[in-house]
């Protein structure tokens, strides 16, 4: 199949549903369900009709959309650093995990959104509280997957590393992390999707800007096309994040037989 053929094949169902949705909503003429064409038009006016000096993006893209994206990526990155660092430490220690496991099991069971009020009291309304919500919510899949991956390092590789007198740093960076990388990436992917969810929830509760806040404002003003535009934007962002991370993952793990392409 040609490149275009493959592309069309993968997207045909999606396009079909959009067409049906368009016809159905146009026929129903319900203000709560605007047709996709209206949503597309709203998207254009809301975000893509800015001046050339701003790359045709409107102010709200800079003030709200980028603020939200920044929170997702920053929160996720902080969680990744914390999760991998603690995960490696705990995974390499035989007993440490036994001690903290009950604590972790409890902490993981607390839904992160439930902590938003706590973070609001402790931290500033806005970015700090939102970052705390995201980090607390998404650190667990990364941490637990890292522990798992680090524990699964083959004892023979450990013996090999010792036989070659690798330093602690060479052992951790050159053996433990690569061996755990497939598991770590699995955790990172779950966490990235979760970051998006927690970003929206935290912005719906307490925020001075962001995609979530703008959707809330639109909903309260009965501006349903703008609300739907926000939903579409979140879908697009989630899709893009996942696609980019998958590309990075496929590159980083290209040594795996099942991912290997050419040579």
């Amino acid at each position: 199949m040609s490149w275009f053929g493959k592309f069309a094949y993968r997207w045909v169902v999606f396009v079909g549903i959009v067409v049906v949705w368009q016809l159905a909503t146009a026929a129903a003429d319900d203000p709560f369900f605007p047709p996709p064409s209206t949503i597309a038009n709203t998207i254009y006016h809301l975000w893509l009709s800015g001046p050339g000096s701003q790359l045709f993006l409107t102010d709200t893209v800079y003030d709200d959309v980028f603020a939200s994206i920044g929170r997702i990526l920053l929160g996720w990155a902080i969680a990744a650093v914390i999760g991998v660092a603690i995960g490696v430490l705990l995974g390499r220690s035989r007993t440490a995990m036994d001690y903290v496991n009950p604590l972790f099991a409890f902490a993981r069971s607390v839904p992160s959104p439930a902590l938003v009020p706590v973070f609001l009291v402790l931290l500033d309304i806005g970015t700090p509280a939102q970052l705390a919500t995201i980090v607390f919510g998404v650190v667990w899949p990364i941490l637990m997957n890292t522990v798992d991956g680090v524990r699964s390092v083959d004892p023979i590789k450990e013996e090999t590393a010792r036989a070659f007198r690798l330093s602690r740093g060479q052992w951790l960076l050159g053996v433990v992390l690569p061996a755990a990388a497939p598991k770590i990436f699995a955790g990172l992917r779950v966490s990235l999707s979760l970051s998006l969810v927690l970003m929206v929830i935290s912005e719906l509760v307490a925020s001075r800007n962001g995609i979530g806040l703008q959707m809330l404002i639109a909903q309260r003003a009965f501006d349903y096309p703008a609300m739907w535009a926000g939903i579409v934007l979140l879908g697009v962002l989630g899709y893009l994040f996942n696609t980019v991370l998958l590309m990075v993952e496929n590159r980083a793990l290209s040594w795996q037989p099942e991912r290997h392409t050419g040579h």
Partner: protein, 288 residues
């Protein structure tokens, strides 16, 4: 010839959940520089434990290991190990070239020199063309050659090999045995190799140390008086070879050392039983 390795009164006991397990009893021997010494013993008699203590990977419960006269505490810098399980000891995320290069970081700081040494070591084992491949893209025998190259690249004064050819098919094993003989002749390496394969120990060794059943201890130190030039067909067919392997088989079976040089009269029936048992074991444990 100067003494390279001196093992005296070595014994090791593992502490396990359900008590203690005495893996090696009382082992003493020396290896001279330039020698290839084979230790042969049945599965589970403590061969791997012996190599682990000699390499400093574990500290023996009793006894002492001296390398160049210095006591071994921790893995010495000029020692390299080849493990049986190449697929688990190679790093799958590194290319063949990088696998050989990576451990050199501890001793060679210049990247260019590491690359050159790895390239050279791969050439020694006939894998110059495979440097860019990943280990899983190679056959088992080729993977073990990568592991051998990795060990040789550090130019160790003592090479330890733990049943290095036990996980490959017979044809490949012969090739790898000859490769080892060629490489050690070219580089004048000192090698201590453990195996449960009687024929292999006789074919490869300048000397064969026979280990008793668990807890292993050395019952005999046998000189292999075969010519240095060995050949899979003619050497194995020679009467000296056949006699030696019968002698080793008899000793493994608990026989007393023959008073040499009078040629031993092998107990053929016992030999055959032992060899058959060993073969069965080799097949059932070849993937462990």
């Amino acid at each position: 010839m100067p003494t390279m390795l001196e093992v005296s009164g070595l014994g090791h006991t593992y502490k396990t959940k359900d008590g203690v397990h005495n893996a090696i009893g009382d082992v003493s021997f020396t290896v001279n520089a330039g020698e290839l010494v084979c230790v042969v013993g049945p599965s589970g008699c403590g061969k791997s434990t012996l190599l682990r203590t000699i390499s400093g990977l574990i500290t023996p419960t009793v006894g002492e290991v001296l390398l160049h006269g210095d006591p071994v505490r921790g893995v010495p810098a000029d020692l390299a190990v080849v493990f049986q399980d190449y697929s688990r000891s190679l790093f799958p995320w590194l290319s063949v070239q990088r696998n050989v290069e990576f451990p050199l970081r501890t001793r060679v700081s210049a990247r260019a020199e590491r690359r050159e040494r790895a390239r050279e070591a791969l050439e020694w084992v006939g894998l110059s063309a495979a440097g860019g491949k990943y280990p899983w893209q190679l056959s088992g025998g080729m993977q073990q050659r990568v592991a051998i190259a990795r060990a040789l690249a550090s130019r160790p004064s003592l090479l330890l090999m733990d049943e290095p050819f036990a996980s490959v098919d017979a044809q490949t094993r012969f090739e790898l045995e000859d490769l080892l003989l060629r490489v050690r002749a070219e580089h004048d390496s000192t090698v201590l190799l453990v195996t449960h394969d009687i024929d292999e120990s006789v074919y490869l060794g300048d000397r064969v140390l026979v280990l008793s059943k668990s807890p292993g201890s050395i019952t005999t130190d046998l000189d292999v008086n075969l010519p240095d030039e060995r050949d899979q067909i003619t050497t194995r067919a020679s009467s000296e070879f056949v006699e030696l392997r019968s002698e080793v088989a008899r000793l493994l079976h608990g026989g007393e050392p023959a008073t040499r040089p009078s040629p031993s009269v092998p107990d053929t029936a016992a030999n055959d039983r032992f060899l058959a048992a060993e073969r069965a074991e080799t097949h059932s444990t070849s993937d462990t």
